[in-house]
Symmetry: C2
């Protein structure tokens, strides 16, 4: 997969609040799919699994089977990559626009 | 619009390589829609305008009419916001995982 296509998948995976919340849940420790289903009672099991699939395809989650359980581990590396390649430059751009505005207003 | 819905729009808008390239073109200076159509000969005018609409809905572009021309200005602020609220924390998470791995390997 090209790096563009990989980035597309990461951005698409992040473009849903529930998927962002699911990643937030995995930040401190891996969780089984069952634990995630319990943590999000407003979604049924199928919806949780569908979101997990999207996250896994974007490589944001790595799943490991242990017996009958599936442990979902956060992989933050693709987010770091879009950050380094792309996001950080725009964040600095916004900051420099704000600084310029502030300087104009001050003087 | 909720902050979740705004973030969704930003991530969705960034989830296309041509839209990311179009923003890249606007980083140094605003450009008219005609200039952007010329800069991307592989897309027809309608496709360029469709992408501009998605970027404008995500507030990543601010358009100003001057006579018959439409000038597209980059607004990097929504990218800075997702950076501050969300991306930077995961980027640090990835770095700390890498540091731990390196420390483990170093013994």
């Amino acid at each position: 997969m090209s790096s563009d296509a990989k980035d597309d998948n990461v951005f698409k995976a992040l473009a849903h609040p529930k998927r962002r919340q699911m990643l937030d849940r995995l930040k401190d420790e891996p969780r089984t799919t069952g634990m995630l289903v319990e943590a999000f009672p407003e979604m049924d099991r199928c919806t949780v699994m569908m979101h997990l699939k999207v996250l896994e395809e974007a490589d944001l989650i790595i799943a490991r089977r242990e017996g009958r359980e599936r442990w979902n581990h956060l992989n933050a590396m693709p987010i770091k990559q879009i950050h380094d390649r792309w996001i950080s430059e725009y964040a600095s751009h916004a900051v420099s626009v704000l600084d310029k505005l502030k300087a104009d207003l001050d003087g």
